[in-house]
Amino acid sequence: MDQQTALWIYQKMNEIRFFEVEVHHIFGKGLIPGFVHLYAGEEAVATGVMALLDDEDYITSTHRGHGHAIAKGCDIKGMMAEIMGKKDGLGGGKGGSMHVADIDRGMLGANGIVGGGFGLAAGAALTIKTLGQSHVAVCFFGDGASNEGTFHEGLNLASILDLPVIFVCENNQFGEGTPFRYASASETVAERAPAYNMPGVRVDGMDVEAVYEATEKAIKRAKAGEGPTLIECDTYRHFGHFEGDEQKYKTDQDPNRDRDPITEFREKATKNKWMTSEQADEIESNAKKTVEDAVAFAEASPLPDESTLYTDIFA
């Protein structure tokens, strides 16, 4: 990993973390309607993958999508405004947290439907392949989503058509309050890859570098026309499933419970001289500022005009 990449990653990790902590507070104050699923704790996955993507690459995301969106380069102000249902939100306030998107940046949307992204990503990859482009599509999904039939259909389809797509599982051990070890007959998600004749790798999802390296290989494979890869990242969410969750199912033994991917990366990056402590401090305070500005922006943004209820149905 080069310095520039490390700095970028550390920045995005911090933006995500501050963003999520801020959303947690704002939600607590009752300023955000609906359901909000926070990404804090899983930053290594989004940033490790996205460090290797361009605007022209596509991602599909999940209900827990803020981290993916930030790492994919979505405007943070527009995101915060969207989550608060404001006019200047990325979707004009019409989508909210579960539907944050920015197609121009290749962010095909957070998704309220668990397992909704497998096929969408395969479809984006089909576009890439059909039009002879050299991009990739990445599908983020949870351990819980791996038991939806859409996983099976999406991976199989992508494999037989050799589509340039990467399936990245964020295994945070739970789907809502249901442990992965109960819900899945297989011990890992990665071990299901052979059923689709694709490589399945399992990496420490708290370690950005591990995620980064696995992604690098997968992109190479995809761009060589060799088809999809499944990467399982072991991770953990710091907050509950959604805001309001009592988290009665979490245990002291949960493997990644006490780990923080951001501190870990700061240590590694400074040790490896990818980043100085000063740079790290500066990134942190910049990120904090970016998020604070976003909150101010979002708070100042008006509610959408009521007439927009009726617009954007058809192109």
Binding site: G34, G93, G112, N147, G149, R181, L303, L309, I313
Partner: protein, 351 residues
């Protein structure tokens, strides 16, 4: 009988518990209907289970503690899988309650309902029974956005072989849920999430309310308003607001949308000559249009004016609070849509 106020949620929980006590073949199956499966510290000292979720709204809390994991079954996130298992179980001797956490997820659970559960009895010449209750949740108002706020009971109501119940209050919720579980057919029980917190009188006893019968919740001679679920409150408000002008509104809580109670609705329209239907569904091909269509046929000669349907607009459910509020039919919208009718009525009263 002493009065006892409980919430809509509690009423449904109680109905499920009572039917599970009464009949060993009743099971509850769905994602996180208990939660925390195989989490050691949720097993209590007496060997019983504590639930981590008890349903994503906490509606089924306590059931796993009383009935155990054999009868309160957490599933993987695999709606097709457990819905078709519920149909298979219903065809072979169980009486499952299967929860579709949000009706919006119907895209993953539709085939077992549309092509299997609803049709087996017919295709097999009457030789199957499918005593399956599908519990699901509809409705906007919680800021849950386009994929968690839809009102889709009309889609289920269009399927031959499916009964669809939409309760509007805690009393009905309990009685209709018990009737749904007792029913030997596939019954979709669709709950408006915005009603979960409302309280009402609910007897502790086991009682059922007949599926297919509407409830005239207010009598009136000038105008019939048929409303579904949460919209019954809107209808009541409209009735209250027209009362000072001397307009007597008859409010019908439809309770069951498939098969809906044509007799009660038509009788009412014959009396009042005017009909408004309020339905939070998107406006096309829904229960409101169905009612309007039947009335425009069978009670045409009694109608004194146009039939009005008041529905959500033909858009997805928006997220922003103000847009969502504008999306949901309310009393103002009804009064606005009906202003001609009301002018007519006022005139006739002042004459």
């Amino acid at each position: 009988m002493t009065e006892r106020k409980v919430t809509f949620m509690t009423a449904i929980n109680e109905a499920m518990a009572q039917s599970m006590r009464k009949d060993e073949s009743v099971i509850l199956i769905g994602t996180d209907v208990a939660g925390g499966a195989e989490v050691d510290h949720l097993v209590q000292d007496d060997g019983r289970y504590d639930d981590a979720f008890g349903g994503v709204f906490g509606l089924s809390k306590g059931l796993v503690t009383e009935f155990g994991r054999r009868r309160v079954i957490d599933t993987p996130i695999a709606e097709h899988g457990y819905f078709s298992a519920a149909v298979g179980a219903a065809a072979t001797g169980l009486r499952p309650i299967a929860e579709l956490m949000f009706n919006d997820f119907v895209g993953f659970a539709l085939d077992p309902i549309l092509n299997q559960g609803a049709k087996m009895r017919y295709m097999f010449g009457g030789k199957a029974k499918i005593p399956l209750t599908v519990r699901t949740v509809h409705g906007a108002g919680a800021g849950a956005a386009a994929q968690h706020s839809q009102t889709l009971y009309g889609l289920f109501g269009a399927i031959p072989g499916v009964k669809v119940v939409v309760p509007s209050n805690p009393y009905d919720a309990k009685g209709l849920m018990l009737a749904a579980i007792e029913d030997d057919n596939l019954v979709v029980f669709s709950e408006d999430k915005m009603l979960y917190g409302i309280k009402g009188d609910v007897p502790e006893d086991y009682y059922t309310i007949e599926i297919g019968k509407a409830n005239v919740v207010r009598e009136g001679s000038d105008l019939t308003i048929v409303a579904i679920g949460k919209m019954v409150q809107v209808a009541q408000e409209v009735a209250e607001r027209l009362n000072p002008d001397g307009v007597e509104v008859e409010v019908i809580d439809l309770r069951t949308i498939a098969p809906w109670d044509q007799e009660t609705v038509i009788e009412s329209v014959k009396k009042t000559g005017r009909l408004i239907v309020i339905d939070e569904s998107n406006p096309h091909n829904n229960t409101a249009t169905d009612i309007a269509s039947v009335v425009a046929d069978k009670a045409f000669d009694y109608l004194d004016g146009p039939i009005k349907t008041v529905c959500a607009p033909n858009t997805p459910v928006p997220f922003a609070a103000n847009l969502e509020k504008a999306y949901i039919p309310d009393a103002n919208k009804v009064l606005h849509v009906a202003d001609e009718i009301i002018e007519d009525l006022k005139k006739s009263h002042t004459m």
